[in-house]
């Protein structure tokens, strides 16, 4: 799954807010805490973040409001300039790009979806979606044709002449999504795209989003403050607090092995059975005798609940998508997860 060369790579990225922050940053030594920086009159919105995002991965950045997740994603797209560290996109140091090169990068490689949609109120759905193409200087006809394609993709056919005001929240965000996809970006940033929507619509949009992702296979950075959403969508989750990444790992690993107390607070309330997959509890076979049908490594314990309770075997063989034996799932551990008795 992971490619050798990451699409986005950040090395100890810092972002401080406050008067003359660059100078203050140059005086910092070691790894100052959020508190000590705050006492100096600065806000450390992003603190020493190092992350690699391989091609095709969906990384969800999760954190409460003020944790710096939105700032981090704006550092990745250079909507704001970072105070320290480096961000590389496709091997280019984006901090070193000139204004023109940056605009080129955005015009060709990046798309972004915003929490409050960021639509232009005076433009129709079609013109909003065609806006990035217009900025690129494409002619009216091409623009229109491409925009119509994306409109179809997000299921807004027939509404292309509406104005944003005339659409529901979910529809407006579909426009936002369509606009960000219009230039066929490699990298897709989504900043809490569903937070402003009603719970039912949110669920529907998440499904829609997963469908699109399966179809398009982009590299995605997705911001959310909703842990359930993160679990539902992520390949990997990065949990942020006070500007720093507390833990970055696969969802089930985070649930099973929270790195810090802070992370544990999130995982505590979670129905682990729905998150933890067979592969997470899997142990090496080591010559144990396994009988009967294998379970899929990607199946959650919740999916397997009936089997685990009714089947008397002490351990189940675990097989990959191709049917190859990967390891075994001890029954007792699976039952512990189901009953929430451990970890």
């Amino acid at each position: 799954m992971s490619a050798p060369e990451p699409v986005i790579s950040c090395k100890s990225v810092w972002k401080l807010f406050g008067p003359n922050a660059d100078h203050y940053f140059s005086t910092l030594k070691g790894a100052p805490s959020f508190q000590s920086i705050r006492e100096a009159g600065y806000i450390a919105a992003v603190r020493d973040v190092t992350l690699d995002i391989p091609r095709g991965e969906m990384l969800v950045i999760m954190g409460l409001s003020g944790s710096g997740k939105s700032t981090l994603v704006r550092c990745l797209s250079r909507l704001i300039d970072i105070t320290g560290g480096e961000v590389h996109v496709d091997g280019q140091d984006i901090g070193a790009l000139k204004e023109k090169e940056l605009i080129e990068l955005r015009r060709n490689k990046m798309g972004m979806v915003f929490q409050s949609f960021g639509l232009l109120p005076h433009r129709t759905v079609l013109d909003n979606i065609a806006f990035p193409l217009e900025m690129r200087g494409q002619d009216r006809h091409t623009r229109r044709a491409r925009a119509m394609e994306v409109i179809e993709l997000v299921g807004l056919s027939g509404r292309e002449d509406y104005f944003p005001r005339e659409l529901s929240g979910g529809q407006q965000q579909r426009v936002g999504i369509a606009r960000s996809l219009a230039i066929e970006p490699d990298i897709w940033f989504l900043d809490e795209p569903f937070s402003a929507l009603d719970p039912l619509i949110r669920r529907e949009m998440q499904d829609e989003f997963l469908r699109l992702q399966r179809l398009l296979g982009k590299t995605i950075v997705f911001i959310t403050h909703d842990f359930d959403e993160a679990l539902r969508l992520a390949d990997r989750i990065a949990i942020m607090k006070d500007g720093a990444v507390e833990q970055c790992d696969r969802p089930d690993r985070i649930v099973m092995n929270p790195a810090t107390k802070y992370v544990a607070k999130f995982t505590h309330e979670i129905d682990k059975a729905r998150v933890v997959r067979a592969s997470a509890l899997m142990q090496p076979v080591n010559g144990a005798a396994l009988t009967g049908d294998a379970v899929g490594s990607q199946q959650t314990i919740h999916d397997l609940a009936r089997l685990i309770i009714n089947d008397p075997r002490e351990a189940f063989p675990v097989a990959g998508d191709d049917g190859a034996l990967l390891g075994m799932l001890p029954r007792q551990e699976a039952i512990d997860v189901l009953l929430g008795g451990h970890a």
Binding site: R106, S116, H122, P132, D161, F163
Partner: protein, 653 residues
């Protein structure tokens, strides 16, 4: 992302502030009591303190005009404007200039206005805009109105464009904004006559001068609204533009300005209203049309006819206000797919057909082309009769009122204001400043009034202060209860606001005559005229403040068993107070404008000197007097704003 540091001032700080204010107050009272033994230098500004600002300004202007040759630049600009004015003058009332096709028949203009009204907001607005032009034509005021409009249709777009550009410049450069802000503050509180004088010097007289002074007067709100609108565009919209790969320029023209559309259009609305407010005043330096006619009629004491013109100005103002507001609020609407083009452009088609028909008719039936004065109607007879009757009927009351106010209220107060040593007045002002905003406010307030002392117009300034104080006090006594009464329900509030609008746009010069007829040439008439004007913002903001109180709070009070009176006094009024204070602030501003105009009744204050400065084209004197008046307004503005900000913070509003 911003640093949110909320610290409340320590309790001790509040105490010392009040104590300091008390000390200053005692010093001021001491100075008043001890006036007889004070050295002359503390009673009136000593000679060394009075600086010849006017001479300096005049020297600077002479230098700019003659040595720098600025007059050639301004004249060149004025010539450009004049060319545009000639075009509109030809189209609207047939002045013999290029393109020599006018005048457009009145029926065509009236029907076009009606269709625009309909397109903007349906039948009612169509009726209003079409009806306004019909009224103008039927009352025989067509040529004058077109003269007025021919200037406005040039001045307003100019203001809008300049305001937009300067607003953008201020938004891009924090330094420019910092420089611009005080200039705008002073410009918006300076009496109109003050900047008419430099216009006469640099531009001359006539329609072009009228246009220029109108532009200068109407630009500030456009700048402010553009700046506000651009600042208000949400970060996400801008980020979405950036992520779409927009360059700085694309971001400005395709994202920021269209998104700030509503605010910018509110600015446009303000520009139009300010243009109409200048119709009468600008005629002092040669703007033709309704204002000029109005002054001529008043000079011959034709009250009825001038009221007719006043009604026209109000109608035009209301119409343009409603149209531009409707335009600002209008949201784009899509047409369903497959709508044929003649349905999409239905109104444009109707307009084109109607215009052609009317143009044809105008060739055949002269009444469709122009209505001459002789064919016109007039309400002047009955109006004059009503005014006469009213004045005779109320004569006993006004005679008594005149006597009472003069003898027992105005003369004693006026003497008191003039009695106070200037040092005591400065101390009082410092005390007020300190009580409200500490050292900083005290320093600002004293600086404002210090300039007035140094300008050499102390006594006259005190008379202006006295007139404004009395007027605002009376306006409060009248306006505040009216506002409370009107705020009781929506329908009543709306009717009252309409009355306020009318009073505000009705040319103030017309009030002067009946007021003089009622009270004679004296301070009662002056105060009466000012009160009429000063009560309007008080009523308006009282209504808006009271109606703006959050429903939950009123409901919470009612559920606690409060009566209407208790809810009013304990909940609604305290919460509405910051808004009402804005009304007081506005009331002071309005009074300062009106008190200058009341010089036409006969006063001995700054306004009278301003009138002299205008007739002798004395730029320096005019600007010094104007600045003195502006500083009075800014002083009150500063105090009310500071108080309001603290109060709001306290209430968590």
């Amino acid at each position: 992302m911003s640093i949110a540091i909320t610290d409340t001032p320590p309790v001790g700080g509040g105490l010392t502030r009040i104590r300091m204010a008390q000390i200053l107050l005692i010093v001021a009272l001491g100075l008043i009591v001890a006036k007889t033994v004070l050295p002359a230098g503390l009673i009136r500004p000593p000679e060394w303190l009075v600086w010849p600002f006017a001479d300096w300004i005049n020297a600077a202007f002479r230098f700019m005009r003659d040595d720098l040759g600025l007059i050639h630049v301004t004249r060149a600009i004025a010539d450009g404007i004049e060319w545009l004015l000639d075009v509109t003058a030809n189209l609207l009332y047939g002045k013999s200039r290029w393109p020599n096709i006018g005048p457009i028949p009145w029926t065509v203009i009236a029907s076009s206005a009606a269709i625009i009204g309909y397109a903007l907001n349906g039948w009612r607005l169509a009726l209003l805009s079409g009806g306004t032009f019909c009224w103008i034509a039927i009352m025989g005021q067509w040529t004058w109105s077109m003269e007025t409009l021919s200037v406005i249709v040039v001045a307003a777009p100019f203001s809008i464009l300049m305001g937009l550009l300067m607003g953008i410049a201020a938004w891009r450069s924090a330094l420019f904004e910092k420089l611009l802000n005080p200039v705008l503050n002073i410009a918006q509180s300076m009496p109109h006559f003050a900047y008419m004088i430099p216009v006469v010097v640099f531009i001359g007289v006539g329609p072009k001068a009228g246009a220029v002074v109108t532009i200068i007067f109407s630009v500030p709100p456009m700048i402010r609204m553009t700046l506000l609108g651009l600042k208000k565009v949400s970060d996400e919209v801008i980020e979405s533009g950036k992520m779409s790969g927009a360059t700085q320029l694309q971001l400005l023209w395709s994202v920021r300005i269209p998104t700030a559309r509503t605010d910018i259009l509110v600015g446009v609305n303000q520009v139009i209203m300010q243009c109409l407010a200048m119709v009468v005043l600008a005629s002092f330096i040669g703007m033709p049309g309704l204002g000029q006619k109005l002054l001529q009629l008043l000079q011959a004491l034709k009250v009825g006819r001038s009221v007719e013109i006043g009604i026209t100005i109000v109608l035009l103002a209301v119409m343009l206000d409603r149209c531009s507001k409707a335009w600002a609020m209008r949201q784009p609407q899509h047409h369903d797919k497959g709508t044929p083009w003649f349905v999409r452009h239905r109104l444009a088609l109707i307009w084109a057909v109607l215009t052609l028909v009317l143009l044809g008719l105008a060739q055949v039936v002269p009444l469709f082309d122009q209505i001459s004065r002789r064919q016109a109607l007039s309400l002047a007879g009955p109006l004059d009769a009503v005014v006469d009757w009213f004045i005779v009927v109320v004569d006993p009351v006004t005679t008594w009122l005149r006597w009472f106010l003069i003898v027992w209220v105005l003369i004693p107060l006026r003497d008191a204001f003039l009695f106070a040593p200037f040092s005591a007045v400065l101390m009082l002002i410092a005390a007020a400043g300190w009580a409200i905003g500490g050292l900083r406010s005290a320093a600002i307030c004293v600086a404002f009034f210090g300039f007035i002392a140094m300008s050499g117009w102390w006594d006259r300034a005190m008379i202006t202060v006295y007139t404004v104080t009395v007027s605002v006090a009376i306006a409060t006594v009248i306006g505040f209860p009216l506002g409370i009464w009107a705020s009781r329900n929506q329908a009543r509030a709306q009717r009252m606001l309409l009355v306020c609008d009318t009073f505000q746009t009705f040319p103030s010069f017309i009030y002067l005559i009946p007021v003089v007829m009622l009270f004679g040439v004296n301070d009662v008439a002056v105060v009466g005229a000012v009160v009429l004007f000063a009560a309007v913002p008080l009523i308006r903001y009282t209504i808006e403040g009271l109606r703006g109180v959050p429903h939950e709070m009123v409901e919470a009070a009612e559920m606690s068993g409060a009566t209407y009176g208790q809810t009013m006094w304990k909940v609604r009024l305290p919460l509405a107070l910051p808004t009402i204070m804005v009304g007081v602030n506005q009331s002071v501003m309005f009074s300062l404008f009106m008190v200058i105009i009341a010089a036409f009744i006969g006063t001995q204050d700054l306004g009278q000197e301003m009138q002299r400065a205008l007739s002798s084209s004395d730029v320096g004197k005019g600007l010094v007097l104007g600045t003195a008046v502006a500083f009075m307004g800014l002083l009150v503005d500063h105090l009310v704003q500071t108080w309001g900000a603290r109060r709001r913070a306290l209430l968590g509003l």
